[in-house]
Amino acid sequence: MAKTDIGPPDYKTMLPPVIQRNYGKWLYHEILKPGVLMHISQSGEALYSIRAGSPRLVSTDHIREICDIAEKYCDGFLRFTSRHNIEFLLDDKNRIEPLIEELKNRGYPVGGTGHSISNIVHTQGWVHCHTPATDASGPVKALMDEIYDYFVTATLPAHVRIALACCLNMCGAVHCSDIAILGIHRTVPKVDNARVPNVCEIPSTVASCPTGAIRGDMKNKSVAVNEEKCMYCGNCYTVCPAMPIADPDNDGISIWVGGKVSNARSAPMFSKLAIPFLPNNPPRWPEVVHAVKNIIEVYATHARKHERIGEWINRVGWERFFSLTGIPFTDQHIDDFDLATETFRTSAQFKWR
């Protein structure tokens, strides 16, 4: 019988010798160029980190290729970042350029540091989730192709962190991103009364609803959904496969802007609604790609240095954001959930555009 509760491999055994020697002794760092970090220790030793993009959904052979590269240039030491990038860790300056050359030849983008757009944190989508309102890997790939140059350079006013979650359960907790791409359902689950009695347990299905929108339907030995209470999370479908929520005509993507997680300058902020709905248009989601690129370009043109998207909007005002981006303002933009009134304007101070 296999041992249980052994926990993950001890990270201390995974650290390259240069880190083991200088753990906790780092003095400062510089970004030598996009994708190349140099950390200097009190001892004078240097650690170089070369950051490369990844599709996150990777095959074992792809991982072995990453291992081959790490063994050739970094004595077999690497790490992954919280945004799914790969970082090759080395202490020999002379290996940096040959490593970058090899990465480029093999199609790995090098960058994602400083005032760039780093990799997009994202979820499973149609590849492996049961409640997605859109795909995840597909829109991410289509968008990263289009904004590739912002990954391999660092020319923006500040970091732009983009994240995608394929439904509002938000496995990818996107709610504090500079730009959040969020899959949304807009219609209630369709109860199949013929199948529910055979494949679902009524009490657990009723209990699965976070908003209490599901009640038993004794006549049909099934359940009924209160359309006014349902907010389309799909949790009921998790326990009862006879009430699918996917709706090819009405599922799609919403775009949110101005969130951040860092405490630098301003406090962490939630992303706010920019575009309530864009259609799912696989394989390359042109409407979504265009909308996100537009927001990035307007921001890049108008923000001051070091201003994150949310900080820029807070300075110029949401009126200005909507006029500069040309995004239509609708009644969906006005909150109607708990504490909605906190977002209503309570002064006569506003801009005309």
Binding site: P9, M14, L15, W26, Y28, F80, Q124, V127, L168, P241
Partner: protein
């Protein structure tokens, strides 16, 4: 040339960014599960809907977490992904790997699963994407023999994660890696055997830049900070003056305007500093966090389901964090006990505190109210007092 049977996905092999479709096709060359997966995904691209259902609890012996059951809703078309479960493998803290460790993981996954992975999932685990029910135990046994273990899922403590911390960062105010690893090892039971009202996440960032989104994404957020003065190296400050506009980029953007620059010297009024990291981020060679280091502890952060997203709230402005982290672990356990006792099913800690009140929470876990906990005191007059504060009627 034969006509492709995945014309829509083929479009996503084009372009400069690395393509997940190439990885899927690479896996499909040697694995029938990956072959059916790509065909089912093509159908999703055509239908504009997913083709997975959940249903059924699957797992490995002794655990109630770490495996996510997944079944195709078209097993007639894609029999090799009829069952296609995910295994969450707890990553080495900080996502550091030796290649021999990674290769072992790849070999195990080629033997038991689809050959497709996520490096990594959003919570931090290495995600092994897709295997059949009868391979789960054998795969776990091989993972365990190779030194791996599963992460959390369901109403369990989810796999804790940490920023790169003192392994590479000069700003680390706490040993985020050691704290995370220690918590992970201490609470193996809570990770593997779901026992809470709902999920519980812990993330450790060693400074206020919060590289693992702890305040936004965890029920218990640990953020490194300091109490004394920012350390200044005046020569290096002056050296930065030739590269950046210190007045405009550093002083003017300081949220508390606690610094003055006269073209030669930088004066910091530390009593006004809120340790946001902006000046240190811009001049890492010249400015460093203070020497009296510890952490700010916050609770309640979460994504929207059920009652809306929350950012974590400060409950302990400053706590020294040194092994064996007794004070921290005692606090975590007091918090979880109170939540477990009072929380309804699917109620996250932040939602419970919202429902019952921060005042009740603080009293239950034994913390004193301090001004650092709020942006401002209340504006409404609906003030509650404890019964013991009210004079009893004299009979």
């Amino acid at each position: 040339m034969a006509k492709s049977d995945t014309p829509l996905l083929d479009e996503l092999e084009k372009g400069k960014w690395p393509s997940f479709v190439k990885d899927m096709k690479q896996a499909a060359q040697k694995n029938p599960m990956a072959r059916d997966l790509i065909q089912q995904l093509e159908l999703s691209y055509k239908d504009k809907i997913g083709h997975w259902k959940h249903g059924g609890i699957v797992g490995v012996k002794g655990y109630g977490a770490g495996v996510i059951g997944r079944y195709s809703d078209r097993p007639d078309l894609f029999p090799n992904v009829q069952a296609f479960h995910t295994m969450r493998v707890n990553h080495p803290t900080g996502w550091f790997y030796r290649t021999d460790t990674l290769r072992k993981l790849c070999d195990i996954w080629d033997k038991h699963g689809s050959g497709l992975t996520n490096m990594h999932g959003s919570t931090g685990d290495a995600i092994l994407l897709g295997t059949t029910t009868n391979h789960l135990q054998a795969c776990f046994d091989d993972l365990s023999s190779a030194g791996f273990d599963l992460g959390g899922s369901g109403s369990a403590l989810r796999t804790p994660s940490a920023c790169v911390g003192p392994a590479r960062c000069e700003w680390a105010c706490i040993d985020s890696l050691d704290i995370c690893y220690d918590i992970t090892m201490t609470y193996q039971d809570q990770i593997h055997r779901p026992m809470f009202p709902y999920k519980f996440k812990i993330k450790v960032s060693a400074c206020a830049n919060d590289c693992v989104s702890s305040i936004a994404r965890s029920d218990l957020s640990i953020i490194g900070t300091w109490k004394d003065d920012i350390q200044i190296n005046p020569q290096e400050v002056f050296a930065y003056a030739s590269r950046i506009n210190i007045q405009k980029e550093v002083c003017d953007l300081c949220p508390t305007h606690c610094m003055e620059w006269n073209g030669r010297d930088l004066k910091i009024y530390n009593e006004d500093c809120t340790r946001c990291m902006h000046c240190i981020n811009l001049m890492p060679k010249a400015l460093r966090p203070g020497k009296e280091k510890g952490a700010t502890i916050l609770v309640g952060g979460k994504a929207p389901i059920v009652k809306g997203a929350l950012l974590s709230w400060v409950i302990v402005p400053f706590m020294k964090l040194e092994p064996p982290y007794g004070e921290l672990k005692s606090l975590i356990e007091r918090i979880q006990d109170w939540w477990d006792e009072n929380g309804k099913s699917r109620e996250r800690l932040g939602e419970l505190i919202t429902r019952l009140g921060m005042r009740v929470f603080l009293k239950a876990v034994g913390l004193q109210a301090v001004p650092q906990m709020v942006k401002a005191p209340r504006t409404n007059p609906y003030v509650f007092f404890w019964p013991e504060d009210i004079k009893k009627e004299v009979k």
